[in-house]
Symmetry: C2
Subunit: 384 residues, 2 copies
């Protein structure tokens, strides 16, 4: 099945007001839906994508010609079963797959925004998804689910619209981006901006893309999405395919080939300025900065939470999830915590993780039984 | 005290034969010595520096105007006490502080080598240091000591010249570079080569340096020298000094400022091609590739070993040291293993680590008593 994307436009009389105070003109959100909304609109699940993800959570992604990024989680018979649930997935603001972002034309100048596009926070991204869901007639989501930067959006929903969902699943994420990850993002941003074809963000006007910079940015970040154990298992010190190129120009090891492949694939699919905006939004994400920190955010929540972390994830290590669980527990919230033992590193949430599949299925189905059908759920699984 | 560097030239009738088969013409080694060689030449310790280090292990570094990189370890009254020992520290081949490297003039063309310089392995670096020590009249070193890439050289000494030293201290190192570290090196190399001022390695001829590429290479690697815990403790999410520059151009957080500072300082002090050669030498280092792996390397060693690792070092994690210790133990070698608990990450070997200082002092002094004075040593400290 092919995913199809639609676009929802903010009405002119109720434009998107960014947290910075800037009113974004003609803001729009590209989104895809899977399954059918039931008559009482009680089966809607919002899936939030990660940093460079898109709205094509499942089915064939028509832009990239490959399966959607969460095809094993969302679909008919899948953990988030589209024969029962109505799934919405929206491209985040600042991204490059159809939602408002730096590649858009600035209505005030008639030229591409580039880095004149306003800063968009995780809160702004959530605002856009909230408005979209409301426009679809949804009064309350069954669940908000997402991994990595998608998990940040899930947590931000709890801050901004804590009554708008019955359940939340933040996966492989944090309530506050770590300085180490800020540092890694800054390396990637500098690699993009060092490319002479970046042209101070005006590459689109000149018909160029900062391809080398994008490749290096992705190579640098991709190393950190995998666990050292996984890299060792999968690549070891296996030599690269033989080539006759000169030393330094030619990878000597398979792991280098693999990174180059990731870099090339990324520069073909992602926009450089979007990467700058999105990574900066992650850096600025700090749910604990308000009064009473995280406890202040979760104090009045009536939602059920299931927090998932992966043992070998050191981009968002289990300790980050533990902080979220601790705050939720201090608020007497309904929370389960599952740490899944795996070598897949941060990327685990996108990969074949049967335990994650079971936990998602169990938690979502139990939420439906408990909160919509009024039944009882089995005791929640609680991991380390 | 000012360190002074001398240069030793390979004699014309005995040139440096690289492991690749290439005979490097006019090869030379820049080195510094500290303390006095005693009359029976039994108190010489070779200190091997890391990837971008230099021969100025202690005293005032005249090139960089700062204290030598191991001033707390080497010096009068220090753990390696220069009132008792004669310390030699040589700049590795391929580096840029006076030893033969890609910035040299190629005698065959009269132009700077650039990337026409031959590949130099860790084994070649060790060969140069061995020849240098022999030229100083030394028949056997009291000890070979080094951290990180310096530790690789220590281990390589065991393979090539196992009878040439009484004791070896490989610190924060590995016997076989990991694919993860190869990946990180490749990111840095690509950042350098993507800089238009790299000019396919011919930047010197044009009077340029690939400054941006060098900065990004260093920023990328520097993140990995620190532990995530240390970054959190030292920088947290503290904001950067205020500035009026535009978003993306200006760091928002202190950690970004710090990385930029490291990048700028690096591009002022290091040569881009040297970085390519040296990082590639690390990638190619694999002491376990021979017959019987590591055990084959250590089988006949008569030296004492003290292996040091740091708990929070995930560039060369304690598990890498454990493999070395395991092989030495299987060879019934005299080996101590100390894992030091610290938040300082990989950089710990360069920092203020009192436990490391004590272990170095104890091990070196005991080696002198045991092997030179013929006395007895107290039981070696063995850590986790």
């Amino acid at each position: 099945m092919n995913s199809t994307s639609q676009t929802w436009h903010f009405p002119e009389d109720a434009p998107l007001q960014l947290e910075s105070g800037y009113a974004l003109k003609r803001a729009h959100v590209a989104y895809a839906t899977f399954g059918e909304l039931n008559t009482d609109k009680s089966n809607a699940i919002l899936v939030c994508h990660a940093l460079t993800g898109d709205q094509y959570a499942t089915g064939e992604n028509p832009k990239l010609g490959r399966q959607g990024w969460w095809s094993k989680v969302v679909g008919d018979g899948c953990p988030i079963d589209t024969t029962r649930y109505f799934v919405i997935c929206a491209n985040t603001l600042s991204s490059c797959y159809g939602s408002s972002g730096p590649s858009d034309i600035n209505p005030e100048t008639g030229k591409v925004y580039g880095i004149d596009f306003p800063f968009v926070s995780i809160g702004d991204m959530v605002e856009a998804q909230y408005r979209l869901a409301r426009s679809l007639g949804i009064e309350k989501l069954l669940a908000v689910v997402g991994g990595s930067a998608g998990g940040m959006q899930v947590l931000e929903f709890a801050r901004k619209y804590g009554d708008f969902f019955h359940a939340a699943m933040p996966i492989a994420t944090t309530a506050q981006e770590s300085p180490r990850n800020i540092a890694l993002h800054e390396v990637s941003r500098q690699a993009i901006m060092a490319d002479p074809d970046w042209l101070h963000g005006r590459y689109a006007e000149e018909g160029k893309i900062p391809a080398l910079g994008l490749r290096i940015a992705r190579m640098s970040s991709h190393v950190n999405y995998m666990s050292p154990e996984k890299i060792l298992q999968r690549f070891g010190r296996s030599p690269s395919r033989p080539g006759d190129a000169k030393m330094f120009y030619k990878p000597d090891f398979e792991i280098e080939d693999y990174l180059h492949h990731q870099g090339v694939s990324f520069k073909n699919r992602f926009d450089a300025n979007s990467y700058l905006y999105l990574s900066k939004a992650l850096d600025m994400f700090d749910l604990a900065s308000g009064p009473d920190g995280l406890v202040g955010v979760f104090r009045n929540t009536g939602a059920r939470f299931c927090v998932i972390a992966f043992s070998s994830d050191w981009l968002q290590p289990p300790e980050e999830s533990r902080k979220i669980v601790r705050a939720l527990t201090m608020c007497n919230a309904d929370v389960s915590f599952v740490v899944i033992t795996t070598d897949n590193g941060h990327d685990a949430f996108l990969l074949d993780e049967p335990e994650m599949f079971s936990v998602i299925r169990g938690f979502i189905d139990a939420t439906y039984r408990l909160r919509v059908e009024g039944g009882s759920a089995p005791a929640a699984a609680v991991g380390a």
